[in-house]
């Protein structure tokens, strides 16, 4: 057991730190809130990393990965969080990308991986349906083979950023008679195909991140089927395992705690910083300790992964604890800003230019951020489902 960085690793850290400092765009540094980003801004950092060759550190080298060690990847994530770079979209890089290079054929790899790496193709996730949330296997979208293509009918929901998407990876039933897990196939669908309608869902914080996607007689070429027909559930579960391991968000939570402390330094209680109030600083310490534990749990998982184990069902721990910590930090941040938590900060799509958002800059949008982060315990397999996974797969109950 050894936690210290080698001289080479320290040199690597200095290198990536300098790269971020020199290359992270001013335009993104100037953004006040994340919700306001345009499509181009969301992709800006992605394209810079693509040019540098650092866009997919977790991919195998043959497909465009960096060949970094687990420690180097850890350092990279830490440095990105430290510099508060905009998060990269997971749909291509972390979700469908690994499915394609693991289960796709050579042609599919050639056709789709370059667009994921360059950012030219924006992907969205066609998993959940109105009737199939936690019980994903009960989905009802149907794909029927007709000659050299499939006809797909159904609807998907909670589709994040589908309003910008070029492609959707989509689960659909291909065998009406088999039991759910043997009836599902995994398709790649061009969002420009006739018959696809995207309808926005506004969330309680006022934002537009998620959508409903309706599919009506959508014609999908048979070559866009991943792997074998009716084996899609295997690929879907593989993807969900990856989704969970990325979900811990340790480095970002560290940064969020740092921001929380700065806010608590600026906010006053009877003329003294809120941070000096024992009852408040104790709460920050508690969440910080939880986060330290999670950080080491994640490092243990990564270390096991580097020896070819996992990510197994243990990754559910990262999802549960990671989201609980993220939620707790936003809750404490809202608490810290006091009265100004009342202020509604309009989202990009609502702006007219005349909005008035009073209070310190750090307070703007904190209540909405707290409301928005309630989603984390619901998406990616709700935290209740994650408990079931651990109970069944780890404890054998």
């Amino acid at each position: 057991m050894d936690m210290s960085f080698s001289p080479e690793e320290i040199a690597f850290r200095d290198e990536v730190r300098a790269f971020i400092a020199d290359n992270y765009p001013q335009e993104l540094r100037d953004l006040k809130t994340r919700g306001d980003m345009t499509k181009e801004q969301i992709l800006m950092w992605h394209r810079i990393l693509y040019k540098k060759g650092w866009i997919a550190p977790h991919w195998p080298v043959e497909y465009g990965g960096t060949g970094w060690s687990i420690t180097q990847r850890y350092i990279w994530n830490e440095e990105c969080a430290r510099a508060e770079t905009t998060p990269l979209l997971p749909f291509g890089l972390s979700m469908v990308g690994p499915v394609i290079y693991t289960f796709g054929n050579e042609e599919q790899k050639k056709r789709f991986l370059p667009g994921i790496l360059s950012g030219d193709d924006w992907w969205c996730q066609g998993y959940s349906e109105p009737g199939a949330g936690s019980d994903l296997a009960s989905l009802r979208t149907k794909a029927v083979r007709e000659g050299d293509h499939y006809i797909i009918n159904g609807s998907k929901t909670w589709t994040t950023l589908a309003q910008h998407a070029d492609w959707m990876f989509c689960l659909a039933k291909t065998d009406p008679d088999a039991k759910a897990q043997d009836a599902i196939s995994f398709f790649l669908i061009d969002m420009k195909t006739p018959g696809i309608t995207v309808r926005p869902i506004i969330t309680m914080d006022g934002g537009h991140e998620v959508n409903e996607v309706f599919l009506e007689d959508v014609k999908v070429p048979a070559e866009n089927l991943i792997g074998e027909e009716n084996k899609g559930w295997t690929y879907a579960k593989f993807l969900l395992g990856n989704e969970r391991s990325g979900i811990a968000g340790v480095a970002r939570s560290k940064k969020a705690i740092e921001r929380l402390k700065n806010i608590a330094k600026a906010e006053l209680v009877d003329g003294e910083p809120l941070l000096d109030q024992e009852e408040f600083s104790t709460k920050i310490s508690e969440v910080e300790i939880d986060l330290t534990a999670l950080e080491f749990t994640e490092l243990r998982t990564l270390a096991a992964e580097s020896k070819g184990q996992g990510p197994g069902p243990e990754s559910s721990i990262l999802k549960i604890k990671g989201t609980e910590i993220q939620q707790r930090i936003t809750e404490l941040t809202l608490e810290a800003v006091g009265h100004y938590g009342f202020v509604y900060a309009p989202h990009g799509h609502e702006r007219t230019g005349n909005e008035y958002v009073p209070g310190p800059e750090y307070a703007a949008g904190q209540s909405q951020n707290y409301f928005n982060m309630r989603k984390t315990a619901i998406y990616g397999g709700s935290n209740e489902i994650q408990h079931n996974i651990i109970a069944k797969m780890v404890l054998g109950l």
């Binding site: 959940s128 009737g131 199939a132 949330g133 936690s134 019980d135 009960s138 929901t157 909670w158 869902i201 506004i202 969330t203 309680m204 914080d205 006022g206 998620v210 906010e267 006053l268 209680v269 009877d270 003329g271 809120l274 109030q277 009852e279 408040f280 809750e331 809202l334 608490e335 006091g338 009265h339 100004y340 938590g341 009342f342 202020v343 509604y344 909005e355 008035y356 958002v357 009073p358 209070g359 310190p360 209540s367 909405q368 707290y370 409301f371 309630r374 989603k375 315990a377 619901i378 998406y379 709700s382 935290n383 209740e384 408990h387």
Partner: protein, 376 residues
């Protein structure tokens, strides 16, 4: 010992309920929130006609002679419908100041405007540096002949965009956080030197930042005694906490009912999700949090007229209970509704947001835990 309501109180509840059932369904509320003005002036008039704005005032003041329990009933029903109109600000807060501290002349002049629905009021007390300390004031009122000159800044003044008149706290002597030297004033929102900037709040209401610049006030603008206003402010805000507790239990009741209903009908894995024990126990915890909050709401409304130490403990205790319970019930109602709970379309998120912000009003859980300890 009797926790039942009188015939008059039951009648009052029925009146409020039938009005809101007819005219304040969730879609109507959504339209009200989205409208330019952000509240319904005609509804405010109807509240006056129904006697709601008169309920807590004594008969001598032209009211119906109800008390805290009547206010509690109205606020609980308002909480169930997420009513945005400024009942708390006008009737409970400004009305409370006039009732508890106003001179007979002030009462005679100003209470009829509240009862009749002509005047909307709010209470401007919060300042950015002051957080929840009601005495931490940078706003000053300096003696000027017979009257005062008011200067300062008040933040997040809820309902101020709708208000005609303001109750304002200012320092007339002493240091920034001294208990002595606080005075309560009546200020016309339209007076020279008062400027406001309005904005929407996350819970569907409106608020203003208010600047006072050399606002001239007469001696008759003072409510209660000069320099001795803090005990009055504490008493009236404790009454407001009692009313807010009632609003909160109204919201929690709706969330719990909606959640149980959803879990009975939403099917996953071939069964209603309410069949899963982990969710059953969660809903039982939500139910218990609600019941404990109802108890604390009754307690504080029964004790809000008691002597100071007892009243403070009651109010702070209730505020801690509804702060914690509101957070738990709100968060779990969203969680058990899954993605649907996150949407703007369903009412669940709107109750959750309101319950969240109730914790911020007049001091959050931490603030009231401390206040409770120091009063105990």
């Amino acid at each position: 010992m009797d926790f039942s309501f009188s015939e008059e109180q039951t009648l009052l509840r029925n009146t409020v309920q039938s009005f809101l059932q007819d005219k304040y369904d969730f879609d109507t509320r959504r339209k009200i929130v989205a409208s330019d003005e952000g509240f319904r002036r005609d509804y405010w008039q109807q509240f006056a006609e129904l006697g709601l704005l008169a309920a807590p005032f004594s008969e001598e003041m032209g009211g119906l002679g109800g008390g805290a329990i009547d206010t509690m009933i109205i606020m609980e029903e308002f909480g169930r419908h997420l009513v945005v109109e400024p009942f708390l600000e006008t009737v409970v807060l400004a009305g409370g100041f006039l009732r508890e501290g106003g001179s007979p002349a002030q009462q005679e002049e100003l209470i009829p405007g509240i009862i009749g629905g002509e005047d909307i009021w709010t209470f401007a007390y919060a300042e950015p540096q002051g957080r929840y300390n009601l005495a931490d004031l940078k706003t000053t009122a300096k003696k000027d002949g017979d009257g005062f000159v008011l200067n300062g800044y008040k933040c997040v003044v809820l309902a101020a965009p709708w208000a005609d008149k303001l109750v304002v706290t200012a320092r007339t002597s002493g240091g920034q956080r001294d208990r002595d030297g606080v005075t309560v004033f009546i200020v016309d929102k339209g007076a020279d030197g008062v400027s406001t900037r309005d904005y929407p709040t996350v819970d569907g209401r409106r608020a203003s930042e208010i600047t006072f610049e050399n606002v001239k006030l007469g001696a008759d603008a003072v409510i209660g005694e000069v320099d001795k206003g803090l005990p009055l402010v504490e008493k009236v805000t404790d009454q407001a906490i009692a009313a807010l507790s009632a609003e909160a239990i109204g919201g929690m009741k709706e969330l719990n009912e909606a959640t149980v209903e959803y879990c009975k009908t939403r099917k996953q894995f071939g069964v209603p999700i309410g069949k899963f024990q982990v969710l059953q126990h969660r809903m039982v915890d939500m139910f218990m949090a609600y019941e404990q909050s109802v108890s604390m709401t009754y307690m504080v409304n029964l004790k809000v007229e008691e002597e100071e130490a007892e009243r403070k403990k009651a109010a702070s205790g209730a505020k801690v209970q509804i702060g914690k319970a509101g957070r738990f019930v709100g968060q779990q109602a969203v969680q058990l509704h899954g993605g649907m709970g996150m949407t703007d379309e369903l009412s669940v998120g709107h109750y959750f947001k309101r319950l969240t912000m109730i914790d911020t009003q007049f001091g959050n859980v931490d603030h009231h835990l401390k206040r409770y300890s120091s009063a105990a």
